[in-house]
Symmetry: C2
Subunit: 151 residues, 2 copies
């Protein structure tokens, strides 16, 4: 069961790949991936607001969708380059995903305390790479960013 910082960093690297691909497509550079506790990748995805005109596809929901139908999420770990918003935090809690690995929470604080209050383990890696990717996008496209977080 991956619990070391290295393992989480390796998981985060997949989410960062997704964010980078999103940026290359002109999209909001936030990526996510769902793993099982053995480290097996179940699904990966990125924010698709711009690419698909789909406001429902935040990175976490996209990775969740890509993982397909599952009877239980008790053995899974959600990894995201950014602290999950309330929509994605609701997903995590509704489906009982017990652990969330977060790239950074500086560009957006998300709902980390709320997740913790509901018993979710939050691992905040405070990645400069994740922060830089998104902060540059926010500076260049504040209107898309505000739209994406409903602000």
């Amino acid at each position: 069961m991956p619990s070391s910082l290295l393992d989480h960093q390796s998981m985060l690297a997949i989410a960062i790949e997704e964010a980078e691909q999103g940026l290359a497509e002109g999209g909001v550079p936030i990526g996510a991936a769902l793993f099982d506790v053995t480290g097996r990748l179940l699904g990966r995805g990125r924010n698709r607001r711009v690419q698909d005109g789909d406001p429902s596809m935040h990175a976490e929901t996209c990775a969740f969708r890509a993982a397909g139908r599952r009877r239980s999420y008790r053995d899974t770990i959600m990894v995201s380059t950014l602290a999950p918003c309330l929509y994605c935090s609701g997903l995590v809690c509704q489906f009982g995903i017990p652990t969330v690995v977060v790239g950074e929470a500086r560009n957006y604080p998300g709902e980390l305390d709320w997740l913790r209050s509901r018993g979710v383990r939050v691992v905040l890696l405070d990645s400069d790479e994740c922060h830089a990717l998104l902060s540059q996008f926010i500076s260049a496209h504040p209107e898309i960013w505000n739209e994406d977080i409903g602000d």
Copy 2:
């Protein structure tokens, strides 16, 4: 601005059509629709777990997706045949949808108190039609239902 019971019932009728179509497809019969406050339909959808193998498409997220990108949801009303789960309630709160019209909360209580605590206006219509549609499905397919709510 629709505020009467009749207007909400007319909105709910669209969500019920979606639920019925989902049932005909073998899917979880929950439907939803997003309207603006003048009563204009912005998007409609239904649970697509079975049809698309997509666990991210609850009825509310499907209707939200169908409405496409919007700068603001402050003038919208989300209508669902069932009380929204935490995932869909998170969506409502994140994007600032101020009103949720709910068909029924007997098959599933959802997060109505939580929505209210965050300032969302909840209109519960307690529809026997919505209740009957879903309760029959739950009796016939309890495993799909439990999977859909992460239970």
